[in-house]
């Protein structure tokens, strides 16, 4: 269960219709498990996986298709729309295709009751790029 009522004020079971669609187009997740030794953690992401389980946004950073094709042996995710390929062992880096940015990663942890939960929200906007995307970044 990834839903954490303390951190996220919407109960997914109560959302429906258009609102649900809006949430799905932003909050869809990929949970992927590999051997912990296969992960090359990015800087500051050393504790973002739990025993080889990682979570990434499912929404392509290209134009927003849900990414769904998993290459099991390489832990690459392939977007069916324009074939951008992301490496889940390496912070969602783009290894092929037109997408310009890595997939946003969701930091994971285990809570007191033993549930897998998110440490926080995504640390950057999910989905396609847009003009104002870096406004908050220090530059």
């Amino acid at each position: 269960m990834l839903f954490n009522p303390e951190r996220y004020h919407v109960d997914p079971h109560e959302v429906e219709g258009i609102e649900l669609q809006v949430h799905k187009s932003k909050a869809s997740l990929i949970l992927h498990r590999m051997h912990p030794s296969e992960i090359k953690p990015g800087k500051g992401r050393e504790n973002w996986d739990v025993g080889g389980i990682v979570a990434y946004s499912k929404i392509c950073t290209h134009v927003g298709c849900p990414i769904s094709l998993n290459e099991r042996t390489t832990h690459h995710l392939l977007c069916p729309c324009h074939q951008s390929t992301f490496d889940l062992t390496d912070s969602g880096r783009v290894v092929f295709g037109p997408a310009g940015r890595p997939l946003p990663q969701l930091p994971l942890e285990v809570d007191e009751q033993g549930y897998l939960v998110a440490q926080s929200d995504f640390t950057e906007p999910v989905g396609p790029s847009y003009w104002e995307r870096d406004y908050d970044e220090p530059w």
Binding site: S25, G97, W131
Partner: protein
């Protein structure tokens, strides 16, 4: 005209107030009376008298535009049928129709009503599939018609504006197709709309505002389907209809072009009158196009939206493809490298802007400007009503073949995943290959086409000067073999020579004296382009050359026949050839 000169209208008005100016004869029938009524008010009679006898020349390629016209009519008819049942709403409903696998599934009303049309409305699936097939035919026919007009030079003065209207029709038809394709709100089309949202968001400065405006809030919102619907059934069909009307009016006003031939000149049109021949042909052709759409719609399923289900932003499958006419920008989008600039706190997505926001408008603009560019380069400001064979304008033909090659390669790149799977190739390698091919391919295509055209011109000249090859081999007494050539017949010779001589533009230095530096540069550029256009072309032989070669050929023939008659081998061709 002074007031005093004004004709006295009171009398005219008075005489019309009671009885018609010309009383109808007793025997006149009801139809005649109606026609008379209309004619007195609208002056239709004179207009019809002129236009019913309007002459249209005949050639199979003139039928391509008609296919586009009639498939548009099929779209109007089937589209109106669909509006009776289609519900353009994103309100969530639980499906309760007769398609079992989806019963109970939550979906938009739009998708549910599309399922109803497909499964519960009598004839609904047939009409839906006819509508979709007709859309394919409409856009394909427009494209092929455009190629016909281009390759035969029918876009030249005075028809440039009709060419531009045609380009707009192609653009609007494509957008109309995309809006219609999105209406069912199924998984594939929803994914297409999602991508469109990404395209809009990639627009510099105003992208996010435009996206929120379009969707009435955050994607997907509940506004996009009703809005696409109004665009699809009112706004775009209205524009299409107006442009098609303008296209047809200009066609009638300019008169149709014709192929050169004996008796056909720049001043006349040789063909059949509108009534009865052409009206019957064209009218009958509507039923053929309608029948073809009905057969396709009845026999071949298209867009089975129930297979993948309603749109869900978290789902999509492999091999997702837009309708084919959206394929070429999609292909460019697939093969472009991941260029994205992050600078001064803003994001510039070249990987989306170049293939989607820049290329399609650029291609349409280039297409629309082709007549004007050619006119400027060649300096040809004359009117043209006789068509040209593609080979007789090698550079023009080569330009379009280069554009077609670019289009075809981009389009194929849009199916790179399908190609990879079907042909067991690496998708990465296909992509790298395509990145180079879209630049190199058109250049190669240009060169091959141009040389090919010029060889064909050379062959035409050969035929004119040395006759055609009869296939009859003759052995001379000395043992050498020669093929007998005979002059081509006069109709053919006429058609081959009915073309202008090309003139390369050479700016005279004296003329350039008073010209600004910019004007000079332009003149030099024009001269260079003009040389590229014309310098390598094979010109038709002069009358003197033809005469001379005829005399020469006759002489040769006599020689041959003499040799045959006197030689030991008497089985050669008889002299009545």
């Amino acid at each position: 005209m002074s007031l005093g000169d004004r004709p006295d209208m009171s009398k005219v008005a008075k005489s019309n107030a009671g009885e018609p100016a010309v009383p109808p004869s007793r025997g006149s029938q009801r139809a005649g009376a109606v026609a008379n009524w209309a004619d007195e008010r609208l002056g239709l009679g004179t207009m019809l008298k002129k236009n019913l006898r309007k002459v249209f020349p005949d050639h199979w390629s003139f039928m391509l535009g008609e296919i586009a016209l009639w498939s548009f009519v099929v779209l109007l008819l089937t589209g109106v049928f669909l509006t009776l049942w289609y519900d353009p709403s994103m309100t969530e409903v639980q499906y309760a129709g007769s398609y079992d696998p989806l019963r109970g599934v939550h979906m938009s009303s739009a998708f549910a009503s599309t399922l109803d049309i497909s499964f519960d409305v009598r004839g609904g699936l047939l009409l839906r599939q006819m509508h979709h097939w007709a859309a394919h035919i409409f856009i394909a026919a427009m494209m092929i018609h455009l190629l016909r007009v281009y390759f035969t030079g029918a876009f030249r003065k005075p028809r440039e504006l009709n060419w531009v209207i045609g380009c707009l029709l192609l653009l609007l038809g494509t957008i109309e197709g995309f809006t219609g394709y999105s209406l069912p709100d199924d998984l594939l089309s929803g994914t297409g709309v999602r991508a469109a949202d990404g395209f809009v968001k990639a627009t510099p400065v105003v992208g996010t505002y435009m996206s929120f405006f379009m969707f009435g809030g955050e994607f997907p919102g509940d506004a996009i389907i009703p809005r696409l619907y109004i665009a699809h059934v009112l706004l775009l069909p209205g524009l299409l209809l107006a442009l098609i009307a303008a296209h047809m009016l200009l066609l009638v006003y300019h008169k149709h072009t014709q192929w050169p031939g004996p008796g056909r000149t720049e001043q006349n049109v040789v063909g059949y009158p509108l009534l009865p021949v052409y009206a019957a042909k064209a009218g009958g052709f509507f039923f053929i196009v309608f029948g073809a759409c009905a057969l396709l719609g009845g026999l071949f399923s298209i867009n089975n939206v129930w297979k993948l289900g309603p749109y869900d932003p978290s789902k999509v499958t492999a091999g997702s493809q837009p309708d084919w006419y959206m394929g070429w920008p999609d292909g460019l989008l697939r093969i472009i490298p991941p260029w994205e600039t992050h600078i001064w706190g803003v994001t510039l997505s070249w990987n989306i802007m170049l293939p989607i926001l820049v290329m399609p408008p650029l291609m349409i603009t280039i297409l629309a400007l082709l007549p004007f560019i050619e006119q400027w380069v060649t300096g040809d400001k004359r009117e043209h009503h006789l068509l040209q064979r593609p080979r007789n304008a090698p550079t023009r033909t080569a330009i379009m073949v280069a554009l077609m090659t670019f289009y075809g390669l981009s389009w194929a790149a849009g199916g790179n995943d399908i190609i990879a799977i079907k042909m067991d190739l690496s998708i990465n390698q296909i992509t790298y290959f395509m990145r180079a091919a879209i630049f190199v391919g058109p250049v190669i295509a240009f060169m091959i086409t141009k040389r090919w055209c010029i060889s064909l011109q050379r062959q035409d000249k050969e035929k004119l000067l040395h006759g055609y090859e009869t296939g009859v081999l003759v052995r001379s007494p000395a043992g050498g073999y020669a093929e007998k050539h005979l002059p081509i017949d006069e109709h053919q010779a006429y058609a081959l020579t009915a073309r202008d001589r090309d003139e390369v533009y050479v700016p005279e230095e004296d003329d350039l004296d008073g010209v600004s530096p910019r004007g000079r540069r332009l003149a030099r550029l024009r001269a260079k382009l003009s040389a590229m256009f014309f310098a390598d072309n094979v010109q038709k032989p002069t009358a003197a050359e033809v005469e001379e070669s005829r005399a020469h050929a006759e002489h040769e023939l006599h020689e041959l026949e003499h040799q045959i008659a006197t030689g030991p081998n008497k089985h050669g061709p008889s002299s009545d050839h």
